[in-house]
Symmetry: C2
Subunit: 257 residues, 2 copies
């Protein structure tokens, strides 16, 4: 047994509470900065800030009326057979580059960003009205960079920013939060080629830090509590200019398309 | 902006350092208890303890010589063509109930526990010798319950325990830690049927808390640092008698088999 007095590595995960209901045009970065300060945990250099897709979509005007989608004949037919809203089906198709699986009424598609998920990530809940839907931001990395730059401008500190969304996955029950946008850090940590404890080469272990940060942040954000942002403090990520494109597997390397 | 003085929800993630290299027959629970105390963060009631598959497999004698596997003709042929070790191929097949994908030399299989992963979760690194491999524990939930009960016996506190392993996933690059065993908590948190902020019913959001805890714990455990356990402190999980079987999707409900 060691009797080390060196404190062990540790990090904190802090909910950002008190952010008002976001509306189109709102300054999300400013709201996070103010709310973090008001609750006694002002943003610090080295923080990672997780923000939900939902408030960014709202602020960026990506919450749109269902009526703005004119269903194609395919969408209308599919919706009729599956008892779905044809306008929603049309929205899913317009936000997608291809349908990965269509089984019964379930549409798993690949979004324009490359993400594979149900209904192209379109969200019908908590978006401020019953006849509107929330589309994913057009460029989640750019949204994250904007928040990061605003934090630097106002506080003079460097933070990492990630945008989270709640996705299902094959083979396992339940959803987890994953990252759909990143800024200011390397989303992947690679152990490729490092020797293991036997001196053998570890060949294929790359950890998706961005998704781990996203999963972590969900634990304080929840789904109903109106906590749309979280601070991960004390975790040493690799600073850099990462992109969410690094998170998407090339089609030719994916065994499950 | 609020001027709340109530501290926001927060939790901590603490590495458990100073655990000696584990060998067959070792008391993993005792090692974690002692190491946590020695570093000044003794286990507390309500902690969630994440422990890597690797040390549990070691302690439970699941690190076995490659030579104990006699390759079948199929394993020998496959290994020859793909330039793999026929004994390892045989071990993967023996630990599996079926092959989900076999593309080139890659074997994605379903383990006896129901988990779908590369090589049946068999690990050839950091297991104390070049000609041995680490198989998954026979019953990871039982292993977790054993640790939980040992903690209760020695310290009189109730903790949640999860066993973590590093898995890849379809569609996204990189690996994350997931839970392959649980004890003392409900691994899923369900929002099914709860009203959202518009009063509409949220229909399908179930969060896999166990996998989020696993992903979180990886961030302090790493792959090379000999930190095989972590404490998540201050996160309010639902106490209960969960099982890792809840994490595995029924075959009939999975679109990607």
């Amino acid at each position: 047994m060691t009797s080390s007095t060196v404190p062990p590595p540790e990090f904190r995960v802090i909910a950002v509470t008190g952010i008002p209901l976001v509306e189109a045009g709102d300054d999300v970065a400013g709201q996070i900065i103010d709310a973090a300060a008001a609750q006694g945990t002002p943003l610090e250099d080295g923080d990672a800030i997780a923000v939900t897709q939902r408030i960014v979509s709202k602020a960026e005007g990506r919450v749109v009326p269902l009526d703005s989608f004119e269903p194609s004949p395919f969408a209308r037919d599919f919706a009729d057979r599956m008892e779905k809203d044809a306008r929603l089906v049309e929205a899913v198709l317009q936000e997608s580059t291809r349908v990965v699986r269509q089984v019964g009424g379930v549409l798993i598609t690949q979004t324009r960003h490359g993400f594979i998920c149900a209904n192209a990530g379109i969200d019908g809940s908590n978006v401020g009205g019953l006849d509107v839907i929330s589309l994913l931001p057009v460029d989640p990395d750019a949204s994250c960079r904007g928040i990061r730059e605003a934090v630097h401008e106002r506080l003079g500190v460097e933070v990492a920013v990630l945008m989270t969304d709640t996705f299902g996955r094959p083979w396992r029950e339940g959803h987890t939060n994953i990252a759909i946008g990143v800024a200011g850090f390397e989303p992947m940590r690679s152990y490729v080629g490092l020797p293991d404890m036997d001196g053998r080469e570890l060949t294929v272990t790359t950890i998706c830090v961005a998704d781990e940060l996203a999963a972590t942040s969900e634990m304080v954000m929840g789904k109903l509590d109106a906590v749309p942002a979280a601070i991960i403090r004390g975790f040493e990520y690799a600073r850099g200019e990462g992109s969410s494109a690094e998170l998407v597997r090339d089609r030719e390397h994916d065994l499950f398309l």
